[in-house]
Subunit: 368 residues, 2 copies
Amino acid sequence: MTPEFLRPRPHVAGLHAYTPGLQPTEQGWVKLNTNECPYPPSPAVAEALRREIGADGAALRLYPQPTSARLREVVARAHGLQPGQVCIGNGSDDLLNLLVRVFCSPAAAAGLTVPSYSLYPVLVAIQDGAPEPIPFERDLRLPVGRILASRAPVFFLTSPNAPTGVGFSREEIEAVLRGYQGVLVVDEAYAPFAREDAVGLLARYPNLVVIRTLSKAHALAGIRVGYALADPRVIDLLDRVRDSYNVSRLSQAAAIAALEDPGYYAGIIARIRGTRDRFSADLRDRRGWFTYPSQANFIFTEPRGADGATGLEVARSAYDFLCGRKVLVRHFPSHALTASFLRISVGTDGEMSTLSDTLNAWQSSLRA
Amino acid sequence: MTPEFLRPRPHVAGLHAYTPGLQPTEQGWVKLNTNECPYPPSPAVAEALRREIGADGAALRLYPQPTSARLREVVARAHGLQPGQVCIGNGSDDLLNLLVRVFCSPAAAAGLTVPSYSLYPVLVAIQDGAPEPIPFERDLRLPVGRILASRAPVFFLTSPNAPTGVGFSREEIEAVLRGYQGVLVVDEAYAPFAREDAVGLLARYPNLVVIRTLSKAHALAGIRVGYALADPRVIDLLDRVRDSYNVSRLSQAAAIAALEDPGYYAGIIARIRGTRDRFSADLRDRRGWFTYPSQANFIFTEPRGADGATGLEVARSAYDFLCGRKVLVRHFPSHALTASFLRISVGTDGEMSTLSDTLNAWQSSLRA
């Protein structure tokens, strides 16, 4: 019961926090549940951090550069853009939140596709806004017509999509940009693993915001850095609602070092794509599991029970069996298009081989 | 001009971002403008960071613990509280923002005293809320009666106050808590430098939120960690609107190491208080400048021109002269109670001696 002294805004009492994937603190897990990179970040990152820390951490007594100015420059250069087209966030979630605060209110809905990143409706709910969900069909094609019909001032799209891994073509994104009357946020957390991205469209479409993160391809989920690429007028709005010291000194230093070593990342991205494609083919061809073609660093697959059955209970059985053997994947039981699937982050070849063995054991256990 | 595709919430177009103190990137400044600690953090901080980074930064590929659980425990232990009474923020500004989002809306004002930390009205404006400012008189005594008359669901109080450095007694704070009908946020960023604090009142007043930061006394402005201490029902509301990964792995590790070394910090806090009291006495007794008694790590003093005059122009003249000699302090020209003053962060004895010499030179320049 809420005591009398507490008078939160009425909608806050009904909020449920976003449920992040499990982060077990003990050792021994094969952790394939939150799409982290299985390889360490560029060696330049540890070096840059050690330099910033110095002998005694003295630099840490000073506030960070408030706008992350140097990092904006490095990001801009990496994408062939101007620093004024970049805003840096405490993880990309920070930027998604700022976009909601700028554009969304009870009177103005925020559009989003379903299923996609489940944080969007949580952020809209915190804002007491009205989410306008547009469902995918089982083919997971982008519902361009329905998005164009939306009157929402902002629309969130994950591309490649999560948790499905399905990518959308630049032509499809452009079709939305041409007709949509608001700001289209293309959340490209997984784009470094995809065939194409929307960054090249920024020059022609001032209503496009591209969101990137260093948490996935750059192996830096632990430092919390993401960024928005957009028209300077949109960046200016984000800066007005952004916390003035939102990114720590160490996070700025780490992100700069990572982005200045694209060669290293090209190497690990190629490895992850290779593992992904081999493992997807194995699920599809050897096990006969329906598996969406993935453009991300995870695989969305529909496990089959002993009798070939699929469904929520089969997926849950596989999830629980894996969990019992300390192999952690992700199951989203609450949506019809996801309930019969598991989302598996692409790990090292060794981790995928452990996963494969454990899936074999699960299938054997069903026949026993 | 806002292009047609941009439809921000109407109030956003009128927002002005918070103006942080200057953070010069070049060397050679005596930086006494943002109340940073002049001494490095505990040596345990650099050690803990090096441990977390390891040889190759591999741990950084993983997300942080979402609730900063271990840090909550360490904070709770440091204050004799339970972990359920603690929420960790990306700097204390993060927590102030969460409090605004929980309690403040256009229909519900947020109370605050003026002058105090100038971020509060900025956060309220971002929320499209209605700030309810209660002015101090020149004696800077806490206007208890006027606060008790407020119907705002949340009230922000800085204690010791900024930018004045004046502390409020526990009895005054308790008088507010006994009668005020909402949540009283006591922002204790500077409390480690003060004679007393409000933490002991948490046991009896569930409508109290105490905010602390590691940016000042703990010499860690660069890592962005602050925390809220409150009734678990208030903490639960903050967690509902908090970003799920708001504090990086490195920031959590650094904060834990700092809070586990209270002996080191007792030493530097004593030094800063000693420097503060000596320098304040010098300003007051030798220069004859009106100087509020400071309970913080900064000094609020009213410079006198050659003829003994005070005022905005005198303060600006001193500020500009110092700035020209690369000594950076802070001037708040836009409020009647602050315009004739300078706020000077307490630096090392060497820095204060440079400041003193430069103030002498300024005074000589006026007589010339």
